[in-house]
């Protein structure tokens, strides 16, 4: 008897969304099968990697993470340019850590001016990530949205507690919103419905399922992303047929296992290599779960993941 390879019966497709503007705009999504299941369907656009830039000098980063950005960590514009020019970043993510009310608490106008300068200095798609404080993000992201009109930013996190005002601003100024929910498929669907009811077009929504790194619950993120894709592709759940973005770098580089110096615990091996591998492996796991955009930090980790994407997408 002939053996038939079991095949998934797909009924849905992930929506395509365009990120950024101009010649270097990128399209993600469009899959008609599970991640990298090229033997079952299509993956018309490869996953993309955005390089992180902080809007104030990073604190408590391990040496290995700082070293590639020596001399630019106090200047977001120079940092973003370095990512694009020296490391070939196809996207940049500006983390607005300076606006944290529990930290520097920089005002919306000042923060938005920095975003504008970065947006003008580079042409690749730009992600702007707030602090998940609803009041502050509302203030900051609305100002950013207005000031960067026409740049087609990707901005978030937009949560159930602040989606109305930020969502309305994104509609008005044509930016993409990052729909962010705490590792829960039902809440992810609900927020997408709410954004749709508000009037945010489907092409301007990307899902942030909330992720964590290896050793810190990545399996939960994996499982929720996997279920999102199953609902989207095999159960025709239109409200989940969106691309997924994962803010993974900060989750791996803040862990104890990455921060401990080589000499502090030689058994753990070389700290630099350890950090890079933790980031690369966490990112790879999320790609297999369905990530379309990864926010990453170390150029060597990015290199490893890019290589894997290349190998998995060429037949």
């Amino acid at each position: 008897m002939a053996f038939d390879i079991p095949k998934i019966d797909y009924t849905g497709r992930i929506k395509e969304i365009k990120l950024g503007s101009g010649d270097e705009a990128l399209t993600v999504g469009g899959q008609s099968s599970y991640p990298f299941h090229l033997f079952e369907g299509e993956m018309p656009h490869p996953p993309r990697i955005a390089m992180e830039v902080y809007d104030s000098p990073p604190e408590e980063w391990p040496e290995a993470a700082l070293e590639p950005f020596t001399g630019v960590t106090d200047d977001p514009v120079a940092w973003a340019k370095k990512c694009v020019n020296d490391y070939g970043a196809e996207m940049v993510c500006l983390q607005l850590v300076s606006t944290d009310p529990n930290g520097l608490d920089r005002g919306a106008d000042e923060a938005a001016e920095v975003v504008k300068k970065v947006a003008e200095a580079i042409t690749v798609p730009l992600i702007v990530w707030g602090t998940a404080n609803h009041d502050k993000d509302t203030e900051v992201l609305r100002r950013v949205s207005e000031l960067c009109q026409g740049r087609k930013l990707i901005m978030g996190p937009v949560e159930e507690g602040d989606y109305k005002k930020i969502g309305a601003s994104a509609i008005g100024y044509h930016h993409t919103v990052i729909a962010s929910t705490p590792i829960d498929i039902n809440l992810a669907k609900q927020l997408n419905i709410l954004l749709g009811n508000l009037g945010v077009p489907d092409e301007q929504i990307i899902i942030d399922p909330t992720v964590s790194g290896i050793g810190y619950g990545i399996e939960y993120a994996y499982s929720v992303m996997e279920r999102i894709r199953m609902a989207a592709l095999a159960q025709q759940d239109e409200k989940l047929q969106f691309p997924i973005i994962c803010n993974i770098a900060r989750e791996t580089w803040k862990t104890k296992e990455v921060k401990i110096a080589t000499e502090e615990d030689p058994k753990l091996g070389d700290a630099r290599k350890r950090g890079i591998l933790m980031e690369a492996m966490s990112a790879m796991v999320l790609l297999l779960a369905g990530a379309d955009v990864l926010i990453m930090r170390h150029p060597e980790a990015i290199g490893l993941v890019r290589q894997m994407i290349g190998e998995l997408t060429t037949s």
């Binding site: 039902n186 809440l187 669907k189 419905i193 709410l194 159960q235 759940d237 409200k239 989940l240």
Partner: protein, 292 residues
């Protein structure tokens, strides 16, 4: 179907203080209101009742029996309080509940036999919540065996397969249904009961009745014997009393894979169909499930 009213609960904002202050009026009023609403049993949920639970249960049972002759379900984790309640109940009581945790088996199960009561057999194992229908079967067989050993007949055991919220894990919602379809074969003669409102825990309050009513209909397909319910959901009670056969038939059709044309249905029917599709795992739950 027998309905057990869930409303007399120590977590309630009116009943909690009344229990602590031994104030009979609000409690008696609620008991009477539940009876008028058409409830068969009154569940008396006094919580863990670690301190002086026996004295509280005795007072509560006596207070209710002054105004009501309905049978009572004694709902607490404290076996001393259960026994105190059983001593003063006039009618055959329901012990809520006996699980497979060793202390429940040792302390509460013998009381069921001693006072000739009915019991809720909660399928909660030594390792906690069963993960699927098969684990529920194993626990049910084990629990019934242990009860039978003490001389408790199957008819006195009301198996509770544990209903969990639809917003938490849809596979558990389905497993509970699947188990209900097998119960008659694995434990012949046993009755069944569910804590129905748990299906809608975490759902906005005004939407909870849709889930409660539809899940009840789905469980009825497999011969559900009784349910602990919100006594004041009039539509739910009408369903249980057989007064809404058309809706029941519609939901059962959806469970059988039928896809009724929504445009030919009334708004109420559409709501039931959408809810049945969510509860059967066919479409994914979100708080806006009725709108999509």
């Amino acid at each position: 179907m027998l309905l057990v009213g869930e409303n007399l609960n120590i977590m309630s904002r009116t009943i909690g203080p009344a229990l602590r202050e031994r104030n009979p009026r609000p409690i008696q009023q609620l008991a009477q209101a539940e009876a008028e609403a058409g409830i068969d049993y009154l569940d008396l949920n006094i919580g863990p009742a670690r301190k002086a639970g026996d004295e509280l249960m005795t007072w509560l049972v006596n207070t209710i029996q002054e105004v009501s002759d309905q049978p009572l379900s004694l709902d607490t984790a404290n076996p001393v309080a259960i026994e105190a309640g059983l001593k003063v109940c006039w009618r055959r009581a329901l012990v809520n509940s006996v699980s497979l945790q060793p202390e429940r088996l040792e302390q509460t199960l013998p009381l069921v036999k001693k006072y000739n009561a009915d019991m809720i057999g909660l399928l909660w194992g030594v390792e906690g919540m069963p993960r699927d229908a098969n684990e529920r079967c194993l626990l049910a067989v084990d629990l019934v065996y242990k009860a039978n050993q003490l001389g408790i007949p199957n008819e006195a055991i009301w198996i509770d397969p544990i209903v969990t919220p639809v917003s938490v894990e849809i596979n558990q919602v389905r497993a509970c249904l699947e188990f209900m379809s097998m119960l008659k074969d694995i434990a012949p003669g046993c009755n069944s009961i569910v804590g129905l409102s748990n299906i809608s825990n975490g759902t906005p309050a005004h939407l909870r009745p849709y889930l409660n009513r539809t899940y009840l209909i789905m469980l009825m397909k497999y011969g559900l014997y009784s349910a602990i319910v919100d006594a004041f959901d009039a539509e739910l009670i009408r369903i249980a009393r057989g007064d809404m056969p058309k809706i029941v038939k519609l939901v059962h059709r959806v469970m059988d894979g039928d896809r009724p044309d929504l445009s030919s249905l009334s708004k109420k029917e559409v709501d039931y169909v959408k809810t049945a599709r969510v509860l059967s795992g066919e479409s994914l739950y979100s708080h806006s499930w009725l709108e999509v």
